[in-house]
């Protein structure tokens, strides 16, 4: 249940919502400032809960990169006098599932429980204790730190992970988005227990928190359960805004030698924030360029016509401030120059010419027609509720969505790509072996 790997991709897939059969969202605020989003869904006897905090890795101190991740790993290591073993055994005896993790923007803590009160009440009670009174024991800290360091070593043998890290660094430099949420060795080694307790005191407070719930509860029970889960947190203070992201001033190319049979090629630039006015034009445009799997232009040029890569894609990952715009592929070392040339020419042509009316029509058909699939189960809806809360999207976002997509024109896409995407000021990472 941890949300560690492939976070950009998962965010990119989670973008739009629309009105057809859209769930009815109840919204209220606890006295300590926690903003609650609830959808009643009685068909399955379960409850899905997600607590979200403005405490992602972008908030990590510069010299302690990895703090948010390590805190997530430590959260269930003891609470309110209970040990790790007791917490694990209690959740598992109830059939409940617990998870925690952090991406660049948010720290999230998840609970899935049966909605029968015999399971729900004790599971929620334990979940609440973990959020409000974690022990964060020093003894566990050494173990969990060491496990995260092993995780970093695993990345160091993965060409895909190494390329992704180098890409973030090239895009963001010293901005907090430049460091992967998994942190760095020296940073993890510097973290002390006091950093974890300070993290908890500063970030796990009502005015810095959102709560998403979906499941088999009445509205009045939902009010009671929400209060029980997060009503005990102090109000605290919201965090200051993140620093904005500076665009790249010139092209940068980073070549990394690695003994792999394939080269991983990543090209991109800082993209857009969640609330960007060009969001819909860029989203629909990107669907056509590289966001639609096998039917995108990039896939057609590189995979379908020439068999150069198994996976070629592009995406915007909108974040609190400008998240990445990334184009990626992998190909055998001998063909990487050819693939990179095709990638660049496909992007350039798309910016210059924009999509055809036929392509735009097909894109709208897919995005609008496929919308019900994005909200067809409780887990997906819980994820959306967390996003709507955290990014302060309007509650009517769902209802407005199809009209926003339908309104996008060929001219708007070409205009947005021309103004926002700079093929002559991009970061390129090429990681691979000898040709």
């Amino acid at each position: 249940m941890c949300t560690k790997a492939k976070w950009w991709l998962s965010l990119a897939l989670l973008i739009p919502l629309f009105a057809q059969a859209s769930p009815k969202i109840e919204h209220w605020t606890l006295t300590n400032g926690v903003r609650v989003y609830f959808v009643q869904a009685n068909e399955i006897p379960m409850l899905q809960v997600r607590a979200v905090f403005d405490a992602g890795s972008a908030r990590d101190p510069k010299d302690k990169a990895g703090l948010a991740q390590l805190f997530g790993a430590m959260l269930d290591e003891g609470a309110a006098g209970l040990t790790t073993d007791q917490i694990a055994a209690r959740f598992e005896e109830l059939g409940a599932q617990f998870g925690s993790g952090a991406d660049r923007d948010m720290a999230s803590v998840d609970l899935r429980t049966l909605s029968d009160p015999r399971a729900l009440e004790p599971a929620v009670d334990l979940f609440s204790k973990i959020l409000s009174q974690p022990t964060l024991p020093s003894d566990s800290l050494e173990r969990e730190r060491s496990r995260l360091l092993i995780g970093l070593a695993r990345e160091a043998q993965s060409p895909a992970a190494l390329a992704q890290r180098a890409f973030s660094r090239a895009l963001y430099g010293d901005h907090p988005y430049g460091v992967d949420p998994a942190g760095v060795q020296e940073g993890l080694k510097r973290i002390a227990r006091a950093d974890l307790t300070a993290y908890h005191q500063r970030y796990f407070v009502g005015r810095n928190a959102w709560l998403a719930m979906i499941g088999n509860l009445s509205l009045s029970d939902a009010h009671r359960v929400a209060e029980k889960i997060m009503g005990g947190l102090p109000a605290g203070e919201p965090l200051p805004a993140l620093a904005t992201v500076k665009p790249l001033e010139k092209s940068v190319t980073k070549k990394i030698s690695f003994p792999s049979t394939q080269s991983h090629v990543l090209v991109g630039q800082p993209g857009i924030a969640r609330n960007d006015p060009d969001y819909f034009a860029l989203y629909v445009g990107n669907y056509i360029l590289g966001g639609s799997g096998l039917v995108s232009r990039l896939s057609n040029e590189i995979r379908e016509k020439r068999g150069l890569s198994y996976s070629v894609y592009s995406y915007f990952a909108p974040l609190r401030v400008a998240g990445p715009f990334e184009i990626g592929l992998q190909t055998r070392n001998a063909t990487r120059d050819q693939a990179l040339t095709l990638l660049r020419s496909t992007l350039k042509r798309f910016i210059d010419e924009g999509p055809t009316p036929t392509e735009l029509e097909a894109a709208k058909n897919n995005i609008v027609g496929g919308f019900p699939l994005r909200i067809d189960n409780n887990r997906k809806i819980a994820d959306y509720l967390g996003l709507i809360g955290f990014y302060n999207m309007p509650l009517t976002y769902l209802d407005d969505f199809p009209a926003r997509i339908q309104a996008v024109t060929v001219d708007q896409i070409r205009d947005a790509f021309t103004r926002r995407i700079y093929p002559d000021r991009m970061a390129t990472v090429i990681l691979g072996g000898e040709r």
């Binding site: 006897p45 015999r118 566990s140 049979t261 639609s292 068999g307 699939l373 189960n377 072996g433």
Partner: protein, 449 residues
């Protein structure tokens, strides 16, 4: 209290929607499960052909054919299948495993007929052009580089399978050996397609906001005209009983060592009443959550491992394995982790599992059954797998009931019978330094399109 709680859970489960099925005259089996929570449906077509059926020299052909299923038919251009589904707002993909090849579409329910129309078309009219194959086999080789060649743990897994099975075709990777992919011809695929892609070798599974009668009618309309054909799948050579422990090492550029231990164990069959369930409980005792023995003792208390995983999936066409794998923590040696794994097995052989542990595992299994109902796709997967393996569909609901009946004595009995040193294969990854400029030393899982 726990007893009552489990009883309540069992009651909750009995409300599951019924499973409807029908076999068309041409032999196509159609299975439907209603789920009316959202106006969507998933449709999956399962062919009973996978890497298990592949002879030496043609490994990877089922997966390569899966790729070619998107490259045009008598009436569709290459990739047009995907374009048509995308225009309907659909999502689609395909996957090949050891035991089967399956294709699926997820659609808003009013658009479902396109899925039937297009699948029926490519069941009988696949183009398989030499020109398209020449490109697509390159894509498959890139997929193999991505998933296997450049991933030391995957290289180890491949080596492990090829040693633990000496004769059974599970010894070959699903994606195929690179040397076989390099020599594969489009004619080979044409023969493979003609041999296995027939309605009488397939199962259609639909889950969603649908009526069984409308699905049966649509299946009849689109798949009904596809003629039945003789399918002659050769018998799979059984794996000879293992009589002594096997060991293998892989040296590859890597940062971390890794170890896999696997024992040959039985699969679920119509006659095998309790052994697979007892093995599933044994896997849960070891690795069924954070409170299970490996997490608690090997990761947290003794700090020998950074990660551990136990895998036993009793639903398979051929043989099966009970697998433990892990990565040692910093400063701990791979031998210590191997010893810890063996000691855990030895303990299961000697001591009875506690009532409390059994209760915890059973509670998790029953709750998991509830959670799985949140995903239509997952429900369709379960049905398709059971049908293709040839098991009773009632296992969808009965599986967890069978697990509820497992006793501590039965767990000890299966461990004593199967988890023996003479029946064990151990594979170890020895990390070589990762040096830029050196040649990579390459050598399983399901492969998606």
């Amino acid at each position: 209290m726990q007893r009552t709680f489990l009883a309540i859970l069992a009651l909750l489960m009995s409300g599951c929607a019924a499973i409807h099925e029908k076999t068309l005259d041409n032999g196509l089996r159609v299975i439907v499960k209603e789920d009316h929570r959202s106006p969507v449906m998933v449709s999956q077509i399962w062919y009973k052909v996978g890497s298990i059926d592949e002879p030496e020299g043609l490994t990877g052909i089922s997966h390569a054919l899966e790729h070619m299923m998107f490259k045009g038919t008598a009436r569709l251009k290459p990739n047009e299948f995907s374009q048509l589904i995308a225009e309907q707002g659909g999502r689609e993909n395909a996957f090949t495993s050891y035991d089967y090849t399956a294709y699926y579409q997820q659609l808003e329910k009013s658009r479902m007929s396109i899925s039937f129309e297009l699948e029926a078309d490519r069941m009988q009219n696949l183009a398989l052009s030499a020109e398209e194959f020449a490109k697509e086999i390159q894509v498959v080789m890139e997929e193999r580089r991505l998933r296997t060649e450049d991933q030391p743990d995957a290289v180890l897994g491949e080596k492990f399978m090829s040693v633990t099975y000496e004769k059974h075709s599970y010894r070959n990777p699903i994606i195929g050996w690179m040397s076989d992919l390099e020599r594969m011809k489009v004619e080979d695929l044409r023969r493979w397609y003609a041999r296995y892609y027939a309605p009488n070798n397939a199962t259609l599974v639909v889950v969603g906001d649908v009526k069984p009668s409308e699905i049966f009618a649509l299946s009849e309309k689109y798949f009904g005209p596809v003629p039945r054909r003789a399918v002659s799948a050769p018998a799979i050579p059984p794996e000879p009983a293992q009589t002594q422990e096997r060991r293998t090492r892989v040296a590859a550029p890597a940062e971390l060592p890794h170890i896999i231990l696997g024992y040959h164990v039985p699969v679920l069959t119509r006659d095998n009443e309790w052994e697979p369930y007892a093995l599933a409980v044994a896997a849960g005792v070891l690795d069924g959550g954070n409170a299970a023995r490996l997490s608690r003792e090997v990761v947290r208390e003794r700090r020998i491992a950074a990660t551990v995983n136990v895998d036993y999936t009793p639903i398979a066409r051929g043989a099966n394995l009970f697998v433990l794998e892990g990565t040692p923590s910093q400063g701990r040696r791979i031998q210590e982790l191997e010893q810890a794994f063996r000691a855990q097995i030895a303990r299961l052989r000697e001591e009875l599992v506690s009532e409390q542990e059994l209760r915890r595992i059973k509670a998790q299994v029953v709750a998991q059954d509830v959670y799985e109902r949140d995903s239509m796709y997952y429900q369709a997967m379960q049905l398709g797998r059971l049908a293709t393996i040839g098991l009773d569909l009632s296992l969808m609901e009965d599986y967890s009931k069978h697990l509820q009946n497992v006793t501590a004595e039965q767990v000890r009995a299966v461990v004593r019978k199967y988890l023996l040193d003479t029946n064990l294969t151990v594979s170890v990854l020895d990390p070589l330094p990762i040096k830029a400029g050196q040649k990579s030393v390459p050598s399983g899982g399901a492969h998606v399109h």
